[in-house]
Amino acid sequence: MQTQNRLILTIVLFSIFLLFPATGAFSAEPIKIGAPLSTAYLYGWDAERGIKLAVEEINAKGGANVAGVKRPFEVEVIDTRDLEPGVPVSEALMAMDKLILEKKVDFIIGGPVRSEAALAAMSLLSKHKVISILTTGALNPKYHALVEKNYDKFKYCFRIHGEAKWLVKEILTCLMEIKEKYGFDKLFIMVQDVAHARAAGKILGKVAAKKGWDVTGMEVYPTGTGDFSMGLIKVKKTKSQVISIWMDMPESAILLKQWYDMKIPALPFGSTLAAAEQPGFWEATKGKGEYCLANVVNAGNAPSNATPWTMKFYNAYKKRWDIEPEGLGSASSYMAVYVLKDAIERAGSLDPDKVIAALEKTDMEGVYGRIRFNPKSHQVIPSFDPKEGAVGSIFQWQDGKRVVVFPKSIATGSIELPPWMKSDK
């Protein structure tokens, strides 16, 4: 009797196997995405959320079509800790090693987040021939310059978010709009002592001076600085009207609180300013950050209608994570997964060379405009017009809301001054 039961069970199982062969959506081998991110920091966790949201959406539709086989994505997140004080590059590299050698990921999306670590990881990616799409944090122009200079070695490296040189151009254009509107011409620069911020601060100083701005000073603050009073007094004494801030350290919140408490008559303009990017900033500072400008690098990280996909992404993110996209890394990380899916489908394979060729030919309308890579440098092509390229986003805190004020093509409001400042016009 028992033998008969076993026989029936075997026949039933065999029939099920024959009726439903292993060609279903999730029976195929998943495509593994490694996400090396500094997860304790804004630019890390928002990227993680962006990647996971895109993966969930894609998997819900069956995954990526690789030569006729639908394969789901699988994400492996690892904490690189590279945004911590001291910039522990070695830890980030070990995390990358682990993803590639132990976890055997097919692609890398996300970080390393700090430029120093991202630059150091380039050789590692070449050595293992793993394609990486940088989506958050690292803004140093050297990254794509190295790809262009040594294409054969670094062709595996792509960057889908803005970089410091373009950011400087955006900020300068925005500064010229401020100059035009309010007659301001004195700029003070405050940067964090990290590679991208130092480089960008210097470039901005030089270019702004050429455009008629009087650059009254530049202060470099080590990561972890907890007091900015002397720098702010310098701002006041030099009668500066705009403070350009390049800081992703949490302590930048102290700077903004001090600015408010001391009523410094200069507009704080965060070129990267992690503390002011988050929606929770308003509540955390009880409105002390009002009038602060912040560049979130790409549209979609703050609410706007850059493309039909922008608010669709924005609302999907909010629904999934119960919070709005918080800053740099959200939209670009989400977009990178879709761009990779598109490239894999066109390549019909996971072969790195074929996927690189497909990525270089990417041309799609994304969350923050038209997404294309420069085929020589693998840097996303930026623009002030979302129909032409990846568009940035600068917002100002106004009455508890992040109001996009630049570029004009996607702006939902205009720049305002705090009550203790007066227009020079």
Binding site: A40, Y41, L42, W45, E84, P85, D193, E219, V220, Y221, P222, G224, T225, G226, D227, F228, S229, M230, G231, I233, K236, P250, E251, S252, A253, I254, K257, Q258, D261, M262, K263, I264, A274, A275, Q278, G280, F281, E283, A284, T285, K286
Partner: protein, 288 residues
Amino acid sequence: MEILIYGIINSIMLALMALGFALVYGISRVPNFAHGAIYVLCGFLTWIFVRSLDLNYLLGILVALVLTGILGALMYRFVLIRVRGMNISEIIASYAIGLAILEGLRYGGFKGTTHTLPVFVEGSIIIGDIPVDYQRILVVLIGVLLVAFLWLFTHYTRIGLALRGMAQDERAALMLGIDSDTMALVAMAFGCMLAGLAAILLLPLGNIVVEKGYDVLIQAIAVCIVGGLGSWMGAVLAAFLIGFAQILTTVYLGSHFQMVVALLAIIVTLILKPSGLFGQQKELEERV
């Protein structure tokens, strides 16, 4: 003028950060390397009580301080007492506790820049053309009062005198019936509460982040080494030296070098006078 005003503010802030560490070491000779973690933990505890549980601000502060003190006592009673007298083990054990607290907080979701405490008094005044916010003025006032309180406490109360007795000569104190372990436990609890008090006064100036724990520990160690390990009055004086040196560095050399001052002070002190300004440890060897 700004050097004088912000020099005093910076010095008092450093003194507040270091007093707890100096007190614990002075009495029990235990270098509490969990000091920075306790500072951050007290900030987060207050944040939980005030922001999440909607407790009255003052009540939230008091509960957080008491809990911090209890944690300090527990740390001594269950961990540090077993390694007391073994310097390296004390450092490793206390640092491990600190690390567990900080990384535990991070793991528990306390990350980002949005954890803040409200300032006690809003607004600012202009002193000789220099704007200063009321919270910083309050920090100076409370800092001065705290130093005065500590002096009175250690000179006119039974526990304070017992603590001083321990700090001066533990064996003699034992002969006079002072229980060494109980006093070390009290010192640890008191030191942790001082770290917590510093957090409650200083964290409203910015936000509460885990990384601050490491920074506070380094600043406290720098102040204590320069002032002389074991001397809390030396710590106050060293806080003024380092505090003014940091402000002068920012003004004349650039803010870039501000963080180097504390580390440089440690190196210079260890080379020139390892016992520090008022330290008793190794003083005899130095004289010989």
